[in-house]
Symmetry: C2
Subunit: 123 residues, 2 copies
Amino acid sequence: MTQKALILFAHGARAAGWAAPFERLQQITSAQLPEVAVRLAFLELMTPQLPGTVAALAADGRTDITIVPVFLGQGSHLLRDLPLIVEELRIAHPNLLIRVAAAAGEDPDVLGAIARYCIVSMN
Amino acid sequence: MTQKALILFAHGARAAGWAAPFERLQQITSAQLPEVAVRLAFLELMTPQLPGTVAALAADGRTDITIVPVFLGQGSHLLRDLPLIVEELRIAHPNLLIRVAAAAGEDPDVLGAIARYCIVSMN
């Protein structure tokens, strides 16, 4: 068994329905990565949050964790809040490899898909 | 000349760099829609905001305006704030056709691109 985990890290919101696209994203990625534990975690307003999710993955024997910020822009949440959380997680779990990807909105293919959606929405 | 305009509507943030992917999105869509006025507008923390942008487009002779919320989840900003703003805009500009698309995160192709990005980030 691989010891890999993928955490889709999203902002969170008060409206429960806000999480729907992130839950679909979890389903899509989980189906394509059957040996990887794919989890959704939020920064605020929703649970589970990142520390509890990482602790649960560690307890489950996952040692190689990739956090992908499912954010479009990189603001203070990704520039300041997330690095602090990850620093604390690395201290709390020294045996884990915790990697943090760039924000999804930095990916040219993601932006290309959003651009196509905008153009189709004009018609 | 077409009288169409496309407004990419984003949340806004304190960090100026947060807007970078949205500015790239504006460049991509603008290049592909040379006759359409493509504008970026924010809900809060950044300018320009939606009312000023719509007023400027109306003054410029644009009568058919599509607003695409470049948001992943649909929370209170899209369920409550945006409809109120659009209602006021329709009252203020009765001669404009103002259409509002679904959030970009509701589009399956956008989610598919984000999923591919997440999977690639694992390697």
